[in-house]
Amino acid sequence: MSVTTLSSQALAQRQPSWLVRLFDYKPFLIVMCLAPAIGLLAVFLTYPLGLGIWLAFTDTTIGRRGVFVGFENFQYLLTDPLWWNAVFYSVVYTGIATFGKFALGFWLALLLNNHFPFKSILRAIILLPWIVPTVLSALAFWWIYDPQFSIISYLLVDVLHWRSTNVDFLGSAWPARFSLIAANIWRGIPFVAISLLAGLQTISPSLYEAAMLDGASAWQRFRYITFPMMMPILAIVMTFSIIFTFTDFQLVYAITRGGPVNSTHLLATLAFQRGIAGGELGEGAAIAVSMIPFLIFATLFSYFGLARRKWQQGESND
């Protein structure tokens, strides 16, 4: 409090200039405070978003202003097997990776919720895959998936003798697809685990004590206390995860660049290939815009599908 008294004395001696008084005028101050954030977002987010939707309806290429062509780009995409392939893989990629991340991340969160020594150090090192730039860890995976010198092949062939030949991880469609999904799950586990751990710690221990007294088994405690109590937080984290997995770019671009034979293109990498590398801005924008309906659907599905449970339970559990 002494700070405020001091400053008020200093104030009383000095006549505030018009500038100070202007900044003390609340509406002006509000506008000034919001201006940088809103300005940046308006110029570099809202305007490009609108422009992107407009570009999707034009035939713009790099270096040439396009004209409005209506739904032509989208009609073309519907006949393009590569676009369908990217839609298919984006959905498969998001579905399996999200399932894997949440199953393993939830398990890891439950493990970390126990008491044992060096807990905080463990938490810190577990977050590393999430901190380190995705492209750099993706390069490590690229090397791990090397056709000739893969360390996994070495383990399977030379150490465990489970196989007789090296696994060609990135050489054909389905192995490449699953290799990318595995890398994505690896990267996503820490974030899911730490977020869910935060949720687990908000559950009151008295609920478990009461259940123990009633003779509930470990599985029943998980099924009827932990799981329902975690629903709201699962809904939020999963919504985020689905959005960022569906629109992922880095992992695929770094490891396969959409190959072999375009089998691992996600919509984002296909949009990059056509829009920036290929120069067809209009078509690239249309591919990017075609992600929006999937995103809205996935968001609504995960958010309402999971959050619904919250009000179904009523208030008694809060």
Partner: protein, 280 residues
């Protein structure tokens, strides 16, 4: 009984935890060990144990530092990360203060609007943004990245800081108002000093997120010298059919170190603000 529960604990907790840690850290181990392996060992698993280095070498790191523009890339990445973090911190502190403290009609909606901006993924924006960047004459300039990164940093930081401002008792500001302090003085002398932990965690998040950013840097930067580390490694070091795994992994290791060091210095802020943000 005690032995039994100890064994059970081992099987149910420590064993799976050990597997998780092993798998989550293995790629980093592999990255690190490859960086110091001579090429002969790198491609010969018959005579050398792949999990260990018999004769470590710093040739890959030397090659990286003296034969490529790697120091320049690191410098560019650092500049971009610090620039965009500073810009985002200023913008989001002011915005969070206005939304949470200068309450006005519609302030919750402005907050929600800024938050929703976080859900617009960069992979939808990069094509139109590239044309905007060209219009502004910023193509191939790191300044473009400094200006564009706040689009995903500001929503996140504003959201985090609103939570921090909420935790500072409003009475402190009221007392100062009664004492005749101007609102700017209150922000500078009372609210900001109290929000320092929040500013630190927002800063760490911004720094790591801009260090990691890839798609904008790939789309907006053309010339080799102006690239950021993640883009440069992938586009400049991957040449031809024979990959220089040693140099590639050394580049990844060196590029990961600044964030890892930065992160480990502030890990407690990081974990607590991450868990705090999710609880909100």
């Amino acid at each position: 009984m005690a032995w039994d529960s100890g064994l059970r604990r081992l099987m149910m907790i420590y064993l799976p935890l050990g597997c998780f840690v092993l798998i989550l850290l293995f790629p980093f181990y592999w990255m690190a060990i490859t960086s110091f392996k001579p090429n002969a060992e790198l491609l010969n698993y018959k005579e050398h144990n792949p999990f260990w280095i018999s004769s470590p070498t710093i040739a890959h790191i030397k090659h990286l530092l003296f034969d490529t523009s790697y120091p320049r890339w690191l410098w560019t990445t650092m500049t971009v990360a610090i620039g965009s973090t500073t810009l985002s911190l200023i913008a989001s502190t002011l915005a969070a203060y206005a939304i949470e403290r200068l309450r006005f009609r519609g302030s919750p909606y402005v907050g929600l609007g800024i938050y929703l901006a976080y859900l617009v993924p960069p992979s939808i924006l990069f094509i139109p943004l590239a044309t905007v960047i060209v219009q502004f004459g910023l193509f191939d300039s790191p300044l473009a990245l400094i200006l564009v990164y706040p689009t995903f940093l500001v929503p996140f930081c504003t959201w985090l800081l609103i939570g921090y401002f909420k935790s500072i008792p409003y009475e402190l500001e009221e007392c100062a108002l009664v004492d005749g302090a101007t609102r700017l003085q209150i922000l500078r002398r009372i609210t900001l000093p109290l929000a320092v932990p929040g500013l630190i965690s927002a800063g760490i998040f911004s720094f790591t997120l801009s260090w990691n950013e890839f798609i904008y840097a790939l789309a907006f930067i053309q010339s080799g010298a102006n690239k950021t580390v993640p883009v440069a490694i992938l586009t400049e070091l991957v040449t031809g059919d024979v990959y220089q795994w040693g140099a590639l992994m050394a580049g990844s290791l060196l590029g990961s170190l600044p964030v890892a060091v930065f992160y480990s210095l502030f890990v407690d802020y990081y974990v607590s603000s991450l868990t705090g943000a999710v609880k909100e």
